[in-house]
Point group: C2
Chain length 383, copies 2
């Protein structure tokens, strides 16, 4: 595949932006990315979004945003893979540029979630699950993840408080990210006293939703003069059954394993060469499962990595260096693009107190549904 570079990035602060529309939030990130890239136009726009038909009554976000961000007339399309929509849009952009049919693209992840009541958002998020065999039974999306977490604790003997380091790390890192939704340090005590959502998942196991957008301009690597040059070394997407109960082993993310393996192969890098890992900690249990399926921990031992403080900046495999889904926030269709943007920031050395020293290689993993669609991207710095 043709080598692709990321020329510019942009993002908005994740939050409850009641004063801004879907258009304005997406536009903010898109304009920032084009300005950062030093371009006024790209050949094509790929928008990652999950909920705009349900929350904003708006489909066709490709054309919708193309005109708004100054790309009138250009090719534009929306890509959707539930909470994996952001990375799916990024990968669609990569393929378009790699095909040679377009020479530059803007990948934009955008989600406006706070314009509806909580129960409507909960119902909308359930469309990521199997409508016939999961949602139809009345289980919510967090409920599905709670069953997985409960089983994991039973199988591997972990207590709820053992998951605390995931949240503590994410919240601590978010303190230094101005684009994060939550700026609040937490402790094990606070974690354990947090309100229950769906046993055993409490409020501090779960990522907050929010309005947000993040974007990147991509071009063929040979056309990227900017230093350091950040290139896409690996990109892969894989799927699993949409319903968790259909899996032989509900505690192993097959799609993470498959997409990570292909990304490693494409990049020619083993897990040990990854300097930081922006994973999809929608719930603390998902952080553990991602680490295991991606080759950073043995089965059932993802939690151990966190307890041993190997996930912090300076640890063996830093995760959620800008706050992760847990504290930066999880505007679902935008999240995958936030991960890409944050890795570029790390590779450029722009992360201040949560900078991973000498970071040359970062990996992003974005998950749609309860592990049904998983995309893994590896970015490297070329100096």
């Amino acid at each position: 595949m043709r080598k692709i570079a990321i020329l510019g990035i942009g993002q908005t602060k994740v939050g409850e932006h009641w004063e801004k529309s879907l258009r304005e939030i997406g536009g903010e990130a898109a304009f920032a990315a084009m300005q950062d890239a030093g371009v006024e136009k790209v050949d094509a726009l790929f928008v990652g979004n999950m909920l705009s038909p349900l929350i904003s009554g708006q489909n066709q976000l490709g054309a919708f945003f193309a005109d708004w961000v100054g790309l009138w007339g250009q090719e534009a399309v929306k890509v959707e893979a539930a909470c994996g929509s952001g990375a799916a849009a990024f990968r669609a952009g990569l393929m378009a540029v790699a095909s040679g049919d377009v020479e530059s693209a803007l990948a934009l992840g955008v989600e406006k979630m706070t314009d509806k009541a909580g129960r409507d958002v909960t119902a909308a998020l359930a469309t990521a699950a199997d409508a016939d065999y999961e949602a139809e039974q009345g289980i919510s999306f967090v409920g599905i993840n709670a069953l997985v977490m409960r089983r994991y604790m039973y199988e591997f003997g972990w207590k709820h408080e053992d998951f605390a380091p995931f949240s503590i790390n994410a919240h601590a890192n978010a303190m230094h990210n101005p684009f994060a939704r939550l700026h609040e340090k937490i402790t094990v005590e606070k974690f354990e006293k947090s309100s229950m959502v769906a046993t055993p998942i409490n409020l501090l196991d779960a990522s907050p939703i929010g309005d947000g957008a993040a974007a990147a301009v991509i071009v063929p690597a040979e056309k990227a003069a900017r230093q350091p040059r950040v290139v896409v070394a690996g990109s892969a997407s894989a799927t699993d059954t949409i319903a968790v109960h259909s899996r032989k082993d509900p505690l192993f993310l097959q799609a993470a394993y498959r997409s990570a393996k292909r990304a490693y192969d494409m990049a020619g890098l083993p897990p040990s060469e990854i300097d930081l890992f922006e994973l999809h900690d929608a719930f603390s249990i998902m952080a553990a499962l991602s680490l295991e399926a991606s080759g950073f921990a043995e089965r059932g031992q993802g939690v151990r990595l966190a307890l041993d403080n190997e996930i912090g900046v300076g640890g063996r495999i830093p995760i959620c260096t800008r706050g992760g889904l847990k504290a930066r926030g999880h505007p679902v269709g935008a999240t995958g693009m936030y991960q890409i943007v944050e890795i570029v920031q790390q590779l450029r050395g722009e992360c201040g107190k949560t900078q991973v020293d000498g970071a040359k290689t970062g990996m992003a993993q974005n998950i749609g549904g309860s592990g049904a669609t998983i995309l893994t991207h590896i970015l490297t710095k070329e100096v």
Copy 2:
């Protein structure tokens, strides 16, 4: 761009399939396409769909269908561009194969529309328009098209009955297509007496919705041994403002002009070399506007082509040879894939009484919204 061939096609009859689920309809077309191609697996699945979150409470159709059609684990994603979703999924598949990262793909357009009441479907279809500046004012999607048709009649001096040949041709051709929703010959009298929907658009100006799915297996051309070999000679996508009132000229489909021009350039063919044209006659006015913007008629003279009987099989530019949206039916996100499948049938010479003699080149044009996203594909036969 790497040359791509269409190895197999499949489709379901468009209709009210209350006895079949979204899964079953999509699966039918997908299985048929893989069987026709003689393959049991492909590397990646691209699903075109507009309404499943709103009608079926189901998102993430990539993973949803991958498992169902025997592609467990493979890459899969949904692509959405309102009623242009089908062709958008096809183009995403082309780019994936052209990039060299996957060696085969299944493009599937699928829509299940009849599980909700008519008013819910009308509201769902309005998400193709601009939610803030069109739908919010209470105008329906057909209402927007009615304003365009009224203005066209005023500007160019046509009467309503002048549009009759579009519907008559589509209905006549659908008589010979077992997959068509409507099998009913119509006349000018019947056309003029049909119930009004939104003045001047009556029931016989408008295409019927429906449940349906169509699919194609694509591979690099050098890997397609099948004779005749149908290849993609041109592929392009372009956008216009999402709201019609934002356009300088609401009677010219800029995105059709731009995408057709790029497809002609890529194929190295002028409009005169196109043997048949599957256009997007969601409303009769759109057939006229497509013919004009794509170079088959002067401004305001698309209707003349129809009146002169140049659009029938045997005419200068046969359109809707299998019934078009008007009579084959318009399961919105599937329509673009029906067009591709129908052109392949023509190039293979499988169309019986509506076969275009010696057809070597066919063009498909799929429209999202009121001309906001338009994709044009040119297929040719290599013997």
